[in-house]
């Protein structure tokens, strides 16, 4: 029988970790879940965001979270450009998804190698007052290094969900996910709506990247570890459901944390696949999502 405090600690750590995973998965939940754009390069964009936060932190001593917010608008513009290219080259031709997959795989690779060539292949980290400090609640240790990303991730998801449900543009994004043709008949350009949504998805990568470099040191190829996790969270959560993605990310985080604590950390990356495969094979609509 394992020590209950140790179990509680592992679960708490898993919840915090899961919240952070949700921040990484958020951009994919929008791009892939709502817009059907299989953006494999998103985790590489997250790593790029982490490196941007590192630069701002080490040169201007900017707080990493603030650095993420500062970088969000340029990432939004980057997202608009990437979508434009994707639209012109693939979506317009009608054979979007499969060619697009290979395209984003190439973009992932180019981003990664460019980071290696410009910033080097070393691990980078940031400094902030909350890194290295932890709270202790009834024997459960909560490192602030994990608490801050958890809080920011939660805030980001709630805000984006409210935006999607309440604002005109947010509803237009949901409409484009449901029926593009109908939107066109209403006189709205689906392309503009999708470009904006993809821009938003990419902007979340700037913030998620800042969170990533708070959670752990970052090197250029680390993004690959998050591809499986993020897509598993989106598929398990249910395509297009932000809260579903959050829930699935937490399940993933808790499972990884327990396996790492009780068994062996090197198994952790495999768990996402253990979630993904049964979901695809048995319940493709995920926990809270629309049917595929």
């Amino acid at each position: 029988m394992p020590d209950p405090i140790a179990v509680a600690n592992a679960i708490a750590a898993g919840v915090l970790l899961g919240g952070f995973y949700a921040a990484v998965a958020l951009g994919i939940a929008i791009a892939f879940g709502l817009l059907d754009i299989p953006n494999l390069a998103h985790p590489a964009f997250v790593v790029m965001g982490a490196f941007a936060a590192w630069q701002l932190n080490s040169r201007l001593a900017l707080d990493p979270v603030l650095a993420g917010l500062v970088m969000a608008p340029p990432f939004f513009v980057l997202g608009l450009l990437v979508y434009r290219l994707y639209y012109v080259c693939f979506e317009r031709r009608g054979e979007a998804q499969l060619q697009g997959l290979a395209f984003f795989f190439g973009v992932l690779f180019i981003t990664e190698v460019t980071l290696v060539l410009t910033a080097g292949a070393d691990y980078r980290s940031v400094s902030a007052s909350y890194i290295g400090v932890s709270l202790s609640v009834g024997g459960i240790i909560l490192p602030e290094r994990m608490l801050v990303p958890f809080g920011v991730a939660l805030a980001m998801i709630v805000l984006l969900h409210q935006f999607l449900v309440r604002s005109f543009m947010g509803r237009a994004i949901q409409a484009v996910a449901q029926d593009e043709e109908a939107l066109r008949l209403m006189g709205v350009s689906p392309i503009k709506v999708k470009a904006l949504a993809f821009g938003l998805a990419t902007a979340t990568a700037a913030i998620a990247g800042a969170l990533l470099i708070i959670v752990q040191p970052v090197e250029p190829s680390i993004g690959r570890d998050f591809i499986g996790r993020a897509f598993a969270a989106v598929v398990l959560g249910g395509m297009g459901s932000l809260y579903g993605t959050l829930l699935a990310s937490m399940l993933l985080g808790i499972t990884e944390s327990i396996v790492s604590d009780m068994w062996n950390p090197s198994w952790a990356p495999a768990i996402a696949f253990g979630f993904l495969l049964p979901t695809l094979a048995l319940r493709s609509s995920g926990l809270l999502g629309r049917r595929l």
Binding site: Q99, G106, L117, G228, F231, A232, S284
Partner: protein, 319 residues
């Protein structure tokens, strides 16, 4: 050209290269030659599913490394000749393809692709934790000095790989012009229409996945003997996945010739870049070429050449 004549020509080419190889004494030629034919085999295998059916497999490294590690595991237990290990690697990787295919090919292709990407990560975790084959610290494999028919062992491995690559190209061409090939092409063009016309789409997709996976596993089995030391980061190197996708896309995916052209071209470019620039820049080059071809010339070099050849009569290449 009939399939039989084509296969005979490929066999003659393999034998000719074999005889020519016996005159070469420089080991380096076989090291480079091995890399080239290995990529011809991998690219051709990937193209069976990716090019003919349009289902993108990101898990080349998993199939390839499975073959390699099966060879390591068997080699630790009993002393068997490499061709037997190749068969074992092919069977194991084919079985993996069967399982993956049945679980994920019922859904849209994009989910299959994502699952293969995740699968490579899981396999790396499994191998890293499997201490029998060296785990994270890797495995040393004793490479005999001489091949069974004289010459160096690398020379022998090169001939094995060359024969497999030749066989795979012949197989790809046979499939391309068979009912299976037309069925796969109909899946690529419009899966719904294909299913509605009575094409057994799931069965064909699974068949292509099994064949493609088995060939990748066979390509991996001689790897431990070629490198003499195998650890998970090198066996699961992402450059295998990227190269195997980039080569058919650059060469042209619809035909057997495309992956061959792409493999020869990209390996040559990378060998050149490796010597003149750096290995990171060399991977950047592959990534850029791949994206450039998908966006600007989706039918690859073969498509470009056909487009040029057709221009006077049809006025531009078909979509």
């Amino acid at each position: 050209m009939s399939n039989r004549l084509f296969s005979a020509l490929i066999a003659a080419l393999v034998v000719a290269l074999w005889l020519a190889g016996r005159l070469v004494s420089n080991e380096y030629v076989f090291f480079v030659g091995y890399a080239v034919v290995q990529y011809i085999l991998l690219a051709t295998a990937w193209n069976l599913l990716g090019g003919y059916a349009g289902y993108i497999n990101f898990g080349t490294a998993a199939f390839f490394a499975l073959g390699a590690y099966i060879a390591v595991a068997i080699n630790k237990l009993v002393d068997l000749p490499v061709p037997v290990l190749i068969l074992a690697g092919g069977v194991a990787a084919g079985a993996l393809g069967l399982a993956m295919g049945y679980l994920t090919l019922k859904l849209r292709g994009v989910f299959f692709s994502i699952a293969t990407l995740a699968m490579a990560i899981v396999f790396q975790a499994v191998i890293t934790n499997w201490s029998f084959v060296g785990g994270a610290s890797g495995a040393y494999v004793l490479r005999p000095n001489e091949g069974p028919w004289g010459g160096s062992y690398v020379e022998y491995l090169f001939y094995l790989m060359l024969s497999m690559a030749g066989g795979a190209v012949a197989l790809a061409r046979i499939i391309e012009r068979s009912r299976v090939g037309y069925g796969l092409a109909s899946i690529r063009d419009d899966e719904l229409a294909s299913e509605a016309s009575g094409v057994p789409t799931l069965r064909l997709k699974v068949l292509a996945t099994v064949l493609s996976g088995a060939l990748m596993g066979m390509a991996g089995a001689p790897l431990p003997f070629y490198v003499a030391y195998l650890d998970p980061p090198s066996a699961f190197n992402l450059s295998y996945a990227v190269n195997t996708i980039a080569m058919p896309l650059v060469g042209g995916t619809g035909t057997w010739l495309g992956p061959v052209i792409g493999a020869v071209l990209l390996t040559a470019v990378q060998q050149g870049a490796m010597v003149t620039i750096s290995s990171a820049a060399n991977l950047l080059l592959v990534g850029l070429l791949m994206v450039a071809f998908i966006t600007l010339a989706p039918n690859g070099i073969v498509g470009l050449v056909r487009g040029l050849a057709n221009r006077p009569s049809t006025g531009g290449n078909k979509k």
